[in-house]
Amino acid sequence: MAAAALCWALRAARQVLPSPCPRQVRSYYVDWRMLRDVKRRKMAYEHADERLRINAIRKNSILPKELQEVADKEIAALPRDSCPVRIRNRCILTSRPRGVKRRWRLSRIVFRHFADHAQMSGVQRAMW
């Protein structure tokens, strides 16, 4: 998840690549929704440690409840995009939010397209 975000960040519309890359490089994200998803992933990565620690204080039977209530308020005060629940595993080529297979990060339509053209390694039409 974070790795995908980082590698897409390199190809984003913001930066110019310093090294001369001989291959084709996509310099824009597919759509704005994908961009927003990328931003959410970055923020979730940054705040992941804090969220983990505050949650450890909250989900606790040892510490006093007043402390846990304070922790509740703190975690609610963090930016909304920093929670991992808001991340949606979209298709990386079409940005389709539904019908995405996790292993290939592709939507079902794109997957079928590539598999039929024999461009997916080890994928074969099922027949039994």
Partner: protein
């Protein structure tokens, strides 16, 4: 000591005569060696001091060794005591020769063994090549002063020809070479690698230019781009990919990128980081659970674990007033 030796030598004499008849040719060789050898007086005294403690055991060993033919283990134990492995046949021959000579047998035998030991030491040294290096050192020291300086100038001129195509650089190169000439005795010359590991040639010492300029970097990049031909076959393609980082290096090293030099005890025994916390109470209980969990975590580095604990410390410090109300 001599009297006891004289009394015990009567019995070995009879046995040694039997051995002498059987082993004449090695004894002859040994006798020739003895004729060449020169007995040292000072060594005798040292050996006497050594022998004062080992006297009885040696005599026992000799008796058993000369009487029975299974003297190989005894000979080796004798040698082990002296700290140097000599072959048992040599020891036997030495003892036989010593007994044949008219002088004090123990002393002659000890001297013979000492000589054998010295021979073996020199052979070991020659095998390791230790003496040859010293000769090299001495031969190097007599080299004339002109040749290393001339060699340095030649090398610097070569460097200037190869690296720089502009005429601008040659002047600082020459001045650097001249400045090096004044202190040639220190840096110029072939390294003998006595104290340090085999370092690279003195060309590095001659090149006094500190950092390459932007033009040099660009030039190098241009050369790399021109010489980078497209891969002719799959192997070259794989090599290129490995250099770029697309392909991993085989055999796969699981610890690529992870440079965790900390020992296991730094990962597990984290109680020393708990010094900032109160010793009793729910916070301590909580932190001990945190530490238990961290010690079982193989994915974090020690630094990350310490940061984790410090974050909690800071957090509880800020909430101190709240905690005191409770």
């Amino acid at each position: 000591k001599d009297k006891s030796a004289a009394s015990k030598d009567s019995t070995p004499e009879g046995a040694s005569k039997r051995q002498e008849d059987g082993a004449e040719t090695p004894k002859q060789k040994l006798l020739d060696i003895i004729g060449d050898m020169k007995v040292e007086v000072s060594y005798r005294k040292k050996l006497q001091q050594l022998k004062a403690s080992e006297n009885k055991t040696q005599a026992m060993n000799k008796l058993v060794g000369l009487d029975g033919e299974g003297s190989v283990p005894r000979g080796t134990t004798e040698d082990i005591k002296r700290g140097k492995p000599l072959s048992p046949e040599l020891v036997q021959a030495a003892s036989a020769v010593a007994s044949s000579l008219p002088r004090n047998k123990k002393q002659t035998e000890s001297e013979l063994l000492a000589q054998l030991r010295r021979h073996e030491e020199t052979t070991d040294k020659q095998k390791k090549g230790g003496t040859i290096n010293i000769r090299n050192v001495i031969s190097e020291m007599t080299v004339k002063k002109q040749s290393p300086a001339q060699r340095g100038v030649r090398i610097s001129s070569l460097i200037s020809l190869v690296l720089d195509e502009d005429g601008q650089r040659i002047r600082p190169e020459r001045s650097s070479a001249q400045s090096v000439d004044s202190r040639r005795s220190l840096k110029v010359g072939k390294r003998l690698n006595i104290f340090t590991k085999a370092s690279t040639e003195p060309e590095h010492a001659l090149k006094t230019v500190s950092s390459p300029t932007i033009w040099d970097l660009e030039f190098a990049k241009d050369i790399a781009a021109i010489t980078a031909q497209p891969p002719r076959n799959g192997f070259e393609e794989m090599i290129q990919w490995t250099k770029e980082g697309i392909l991993w290096e085989y055999p796969i090293d699981n610890e690529v990128g992870i440079e965790d030099d900390a020992e296991f005890h730094e990962h597990i025994f984290l109680e020393k980081h708990l010094e900032g916390f109160p010793k009793e109470g729910p916070i301590r209980h909580f932190m001990e659970l945190v530490i238990c969990g961290l010690s079982k975590n193989p994915y974090l580095s020690v630094k990350q674990k310490v940061e984790h604990i410090e974050w909690f410390q800071k957090y509880f410090e800020e909430k101190k007033e709240l905690l005191q109300e409770i």
